[in-house]
């Protein structure tokens, strides 16, 4: 392998990480507060979960294609699409965590004179943390994989190698894209699992 391939792997990996990082940051910023609001609103919950479910079923390549006429080619389109995919696991896990708090615990919190806000911050969210981090973990790992497809719409990242490898039937290029992406996904999975364990309240 020539040294320029290594530099390319490095720079595309960084681009890939950037794509994933921005996506997860935006998805969390939207999904976490939304889930907290939805935890007390069953009707809104059904709508939002329905929407995120549908977003999830659209094949990623098709979603990129749909967004192209509106946002154009490049990173922004990729980030919008990837964010849509990342919403569901975060929303679903956060809701599961909050709603999964033992009703007896919630009832005693209320009966002891805690306000709904105190119950949310001091009881429900701390108890939901393992589930929330698990959601972030799923979202991150799937985004790392899905982001490879973003290269097809010119968003860069490790998918660039895959596009090239497929077009030119070049095994080395395919591996140069697939192996770092897999390593990244495994590292993210391990790292977030570690955080999940550290933050588990009990």
């Amino acid at each position: 392998m020539n040294p320029s391939l290594w530099t390319e792997i490095l720079s595309l990996s960084l681009q890939h990480l950037q794509l994933v990082g921005i996506t997860i940051a935006i998805a969390s910023a939207l999904a976490l507060p939304a889930s907290v609001l939805l935890a007390r609103r069953p009707t809104g919950r059904r709508w939002v979960l329905g929407f995120t479910n549908i977003a999830q079923t659209v094949p990623s390549l098709a979603l990129f294609g749909f967004l192209l006429p509106f946002i154009g080619i490049g990173q922004p389109t990729a980030i919008v699409a990837l964010t849509l995919y990342a919403l569901l696991p975060i929303v679903r896990n956060t809701l599961t965590g909050i709603l999964g708090v033992d009703p007896a615990v919630r009832e005693s919190a209320l009966a002891m004179g805690m306000t709904p806000r105190q119950i949310l911050w001091q009881v429900e969210l701390p108890l939901a943390i393992p589930s929330i981090v698990a959601g972030l973990r799923i979202a991150t790992v799937t985004t790392i994989g899905t982001a490879t497809i973003a290269a097809f719409i010119g968003a860069g990242g490790l998918g660039v190698f895959l596009v090239r490898g497929i077009a030119m039937m070049d095994k080395q290029a395919l591996l140069a894209g697939a192996l770092p992406a897999a390593a990244m996904a495994l590292a993210a999975d391990e790292g977030l699992e570690w955080i999940e364990r550290k933050l588990s309240p009990a």
Binding site: D102, A104, V105, E107, S108, A109, L110, A111, M112, G113, M114, T115, Q118, V123, P126, L127, P201, A202
Partner: protein, 248 residues
């Protein structure tokens, strides 16, 4: 001084089904009133209308001489300790944090909270040095329930509400906790409402027994009067007692 708790003509419906039918009850300071009834008699609902977890459909509840509607519900609940079956402790907090909850909510100084926690652990028979830093999952069922009682006593509320607190304990632990309850009542002289379906427990703990049947009060009696009562539900409970031997 007005009675600590007055329940006047309280009815409650849930989903169109009547749960409580025109209940009247006055509780004086220092009493232990046991709400006795079989499952579905409305005794737990009656308890929950008092701290507002279940809204009464009609009628009036007055606590410390003030109508419930005039109370801020959060402030009112902090003056009513609440103990439920399996304690409902916060699993992510230590024993100390659980017991100190209401004092913290009431913004006590940390040192005062710590001292209070120690006093309360002592009062429920758990050595503070050994237990204050434990988590609920590191306690037995009986110990959890003791912590639940200590938590309810946290900021020294004038009224304590108990919802079948000992129902899931083994018979020996239950008996120990009942003894503890009586000791506590002697030492802290609190007013308590205690829900149970166990007639022995009612006879052992009550200064007055309130018998509920199908959402209505059938009988209000001292334990001695209850033993001689002739109403149908009282006889049913007493018959169950004779089947299994007299208490104590």
């Amino acid at each position: 001084m007005p009675p600590i708790l007055e329940i006047r003509d309280v009815s409650c419906e849930l989903g169109g089904r009547p749960i409580l039918r025109r209940v009247d009850l006055t509780v004086e300071e220092g009493e232990t009133v046991v709400l006795l009834g079989r499952s579905g008699s409305g005794k737990t609902t009656l308890l929950k209308t008092i701290n507002g977890l279940v809204p009464a459909t009609s009628g009036e509840i007055r606590f410390e001489g003030r109508a419930a509607a005039q109370w801020d519900s959060v402030a009112m609940r902090r003056r009513m300790g609440y103990v439920i079956q399996d304690a409902g402790l916060f699993p992510h907090w230590t024993v100390e944090a659980n017991i100190g909850l209401v004092p913290r909510l009431e913004k006590w100084e940390p040192a005062r909270v710590a001292a209070r926690v120690e006093t309360l652990l002592d009062a429920v028979g758990l050595p503070a040095a050994e237990f204050r830093h434990r988590y609920p999952r590191e306690l037995s069922g009986g110990q959890r329930q003791r912590v639940g009682i200590a938590r309810a006593l946290g900021a020294d509320p004038p009224l304590l509400l108990f919802d079948e607190p000992f129902a899931s304990l083994d018979p020996i632990t239950r008996y120990e906790l009942q003894r503890q309850f009586l000791d506590l009542r002697r030492s802290v002289r609190k007013t308590a409402l205690f829900v149970t379906h166990d007639v022995r427990e009612a006879l052992l703990l009550a200064s007055r027994i309130v018998l509920l049947h199908d959402g209505a009060l059938e009988l209000v009696a001292t334990p001695e009067e209850f033993l001689a009562a002739k109403t149908p539900e009282a006889r049913a409970f007493l018959a169950s007692l004779e089947q299994s031997g007299r208490p104590n």
